[in-house]
């Protein structure tokens, strides 16, 4: 029916004996949105890097609009009309939007830069696709969503006809993601062709015309989005049926952590306002809300990195004053921070170092001021084994682990010590289906063993699946708790919009 603008034909690429891409073939038609679906490590990013000339394929070829694309040359890819929007933006925060877009677009040795013409072209593109952004703003001053717009504009500025987006929603809020997808659909309507890489089933179903599923470096299936389902795609992606574990009914214990009208004020801004909750042993209390509504402050407060300005906190029934991170460790509070690469683990350090860092002063890991490496490594190896951390051992640099495995390490570091309380902030964010299921199973196991879990999340399915009781967080305030058995997604959606306030009034 429509002509193919892109044909990938039998592309293979190995890294040291490991076949990242194995005879992959796929096509892309004009005006089409194709989702490339697969778990982390399925070979999606490798394929796109080959397409964009970052890697040279071992076998196979790529044709753009019928003409062969020379391999391994980003310039040739740009010239052929391929634009790439990286997951980690290729932008310079200290330069302006216009400068970021213009880099490399003019002859290097021309005596002056045609910035006036560039500005006009950028403006026209921004209007045509609804990607409004100030060309003279310093890039670092823009929000993540705006920066992504710049990244897209950059590709369009180079006259891209084929746009590749690598996990474009990984860094966006839900609202920003919706805006992005309506932009992408508008682009397709105007004749551009798009491939977006994802492991999120919801957005694949919502935005793509066609879905290509990769597993283990091979194309395992191809479906029209209208003719498939989330369940089918999940199964194709993982290779077997996956079901996220769901909690079973069980008796909760005594309250272990209580907050009564707790407020947190930072630089004159109320991050938390008179927040109250009561967390029991052996239950999961879900805190649901759109990100940016005070979740970060709540997690920091309970992790000991923020101090409250008003209210009382009772730990194991006793009122406590300000407490530090060391106090949380000492009193059996495990923490899974929201940003695992920034707060959760130190990428340049080994897995074993990350595993014992917060307990390094305990006698079992240090003797007379010296680290007992053997004990520390043994401890890390236990975590690696028990929590199924793959992609490296105790001595691997943590940076080399995938997101899911790093999260398992952080989870293991906390749960191996049988904490009485676990503060889990967005524990499954950015993980693929298999890893999500693993993380959820661990949290439910901890609950069964009597740990009190505070689950802070913006994923409705996650909260409904795990939590016994749910409170919504909106504008730094917490709703009264509701039992998870009494609510559905729609009711939770209303709570996240702050609907309980009206009832109270």
């Amino acid at each position: 029916m429509t002509e193919n603008v892109l044909e990938i034909d039998g592309v293979s690429k190995s890294f040291g004996g490991n076949k990242a891409n194995d005879g992959i073939s796929m096509t892309l038609a004009r005006g089409e949105i194709v989702a490339l679906l697969g778990e982390n490590g399925a070979g999606k990013t490798t394929l796109m890097s080959i397409l964009f000339g970052h890697y040279t394929p071992d076998e196979g070829r790529i044709r753009v609009a019928g003409a062969d694309l020379p391999p391994g040359r980003p310039r040739a890819a740009i010239h052929a009309g391929i634009g790439m929007v990286h997951q980690h933006f290729s932008l310079a925060p200290n330069l302006t939007v216009l400068e970021n877009v213009m880099t490399g677009t003019e002859k290097l040795w021309s005596l002056r830069s045609e910035s006036g013409r560039a500005r006009a072209k950028l403006k026209a593109l921004a209007e045509r696709f609804g990607l409004v952004v100030d060309p003279d703003a310093r890039l670092g001053d823009l929000s993540v969503g705006e920066q992504q717009r710049v990244e897209i504009l950059k590709a369009l500025y180079n006259d891209a006809r084929i746009l590749i987006l690598d996990e474009p929603t990984a860094v966006l809020t839900n609202l920003e993601a919706e805006t992005l997808f309506s932009t992408l659909k508008e682009m397709a309507r105007q004749g551009l062709s798009l491939i977006f890489i994802s492991h999120k089933l919801d957005e694949v179903m919502a935005a793509a015309d066609r879905v290509v599923v990769l597993r283990g470096g091979k194309v395992v299936a191809e479906r029209r989005a209208a003719e498939t389902s989330k369940a089918e795609l999940a199964e194709l992606m993982v290779g077997h049926r996956v079901a996220r574990p769901v909690r079973e009914a069980h008796e909760r214990g005594a309250p272990v952590l209580e907050a009564a009208s707790v407020s947190v004020r930072i630089d004159g801004v109320d991050r938390l306002k008179e927040v109250s909750f009561r967390l029991h042993a052996g239950e999961v209390l879900g805190i649901i809300g759109v990100s940016g509504n005070g979740q970060a402050a709540l997690a920091s407060l309970l992790s000991g990195t923020l101090v409250r300005s008003a209210g009382d906190i009772l730990l194991y029934g006793e009122a406590i004053g300000d407490f530090s991170v060391a106090d949380t460790v000492a009193s059996g509070i495990g923490r899974i921070p929201e940003d695992r690469t920034r707060e959760g683990a130190i990428g340049e350090m080994a897995v074993w170092e990350n595993a014992v860092l917060e307990r390094i002063d305990e006698p079992r890991f240090s003797r007379r001021g010296l680290v007992d490496r053997r004990a520390a490594i043994a401890f890390a190896e236990t975590i690696v084994r028990d929590f199924d951390v793959r992609g490296g051992g105790a001595r691997t640099r943590t940076r080399l682990l995938s997101g899911g495995n790093m999260q398992k390490l952080i989870l293991g570091r906390n749960l191996a010590e049988r904490p009485r309380i676990l503060i889990a902030a967005q524990p499954a964010r950015g993980l693929d289906e298999g890893a999500v299921a693993a993380v959820h199973a661990r949290i439910l196991e901890a609950r069964k063993a009597g740990t009190a879990v505070l689950l802070i999340s913006e994923d409705l399915d996650e909260v409904i699946g795990l939590a016994d009781r749910i409170q919504a967080i909106v504008g730094g305030r917490l709703s009264p708790p509701v039992s998870a058995d009494d609510v559905d997604a729609r009711a939770l959606g209303l709570m996240m919009a702050g609907a309980w306030k009206k009832e109270a009034a």
């Binding site: 980003p74 790439m84 290729s90 932008l91 880099t103 677009t105 003019e106 021309s110 005596l111 002056r112």
Partner: protein
């Protein structure tokens, strides 16, 4: 108070300011160019020393003064190539490589000088650049008197600051250099070769540093002696931060430091009863104060000191 005013009102002070500033301008612009592309070049102190030595040596052996400066520039470029090979291709620590280049280039300067020029009671001299009178400018009151004391390399330094400002901010090449210093991966993705940009910037930047050194032996003084650079290279490294990596502000910073220096020299002779070391300290103290004020809002090139490797994030 009147002493201070007298000093400031004398054309001699301002003539000295320009003279003292010239090697700093060359050195600062050179260091700035390297750092804009993302490479810290602590080889500057040694490269200036070598430039001073080799430029002087060329003239001592019969070359004319401009050829002397050119020889200094070429020698600087060679050390730049060395630094670039170590930091860009091999991706070694820029600090360590730079300090290595400084130690190597300084020692080599002293060694070659001692090898070629026999030891004598007073160091041999050359005929340095003579001041030039630029038509029209020389006729202006006061400014004429200040400028007529200057030699051609000083004019070159002033023009170079303007030229570099234009190149960095107004040309596609400048944008490519800045992008390489901010995010070499992004530069590469847009078809710029960050390796080539870094090599070019370090080689040209090092050549400028060496010309700054050459000015000392071919214009400010007429002989070479060890330790004559006296930390000017390090001042340049600080001036780059002070200037927030902008050539125009680098020019201003070099002039400001030179003003402090020239001023304290005159104060030493004008004021009795204060140890002269106190005055010697003042330019450095004032520089630290100025640095504190200016550098807090400085925008450091984000990829400065980060080696670039293709395909690695």
């Amino acid at each position: 108070m009147s002493i201070v005013l007298d000093i400031i009102a004398s054309s001699g002070l301002w003539a000295a300011v320009l003279r003292i500033a010239t090697p700093l301008i060359f050195g600062t612009l050179g260091a700035l160019l390297c750092e804009r592309a993302g490479v810290l070049n602590l080889g500057i102190e040694g490269i200036m020393t070598f430039g001073a030595m080799v430029g002087w040596l060329a003239v001592y052996h019969g070359a004319d003064l401009w050829t002397g400066l050119l020889v200094a520039a070429l020698a600087g470029a060679v050390f730049g190539l060395l630094h670039a090979s170590l930091t860009v291709t091999l991706g070694l620590s820029q600090h360590v490589s730079g300090l290595g280049v400084t130690l190597f280039a300084s020692s080599l300067s002293y060694y070659l000088f001692r090898l070629i020029v026999p030891l004598s009671g007073s160091p041999p001299t050359i005929e340095p650049f003579a001041p030039v009178n630029v038509p029209l400018l020389a006729d202006l009151p006061f400014i004429g008197a200040v400028l007529s004391a200057q030699t051609p390399p000083t004019y070159l330094a002033l023009l170079l600051a303007l030229l570099l400002a234009y190149v960095v901010f107004r040309t596609p090449l400048g944008l490519a250099i800045r992008m390489t210093g901010e995010n070499p991966h992004a530069a590469e993705a847009q078809g710029v070769n960050p390796m080539a940009v870094r090599y070019g910037a370090v080689i040209v930047g090092s050549a400028l540093m060496a010309v700054g050194g050459g000015f000392l032996t071919l214009s400010a003084f007429n002989s070479f002696f060890p330790t004559m650079i006296q930390g000017r290279g390090w001042i340049c490294i600080a001036l780059v931060v002070f200037a927030s990596w902008r050539p125009g502000r680098a020019l201003f910073g070099a002039l400001l430091f030179a003003f402090f220096d020239a001023f304290q020299l005159r104060l030493q002779t004008a004021v009795d009863g204060v140890p002269y070391q106190v005055f010697l300290m003042t330019p450095y103290i004032l520089s630290i104060v100025a640095l504190c004020v200016m550098a807090r809002r400085a925008r450091v090139p984000q990829a400065l000191m980060q080696p670039y490797r293709r395909g690695e994030r």
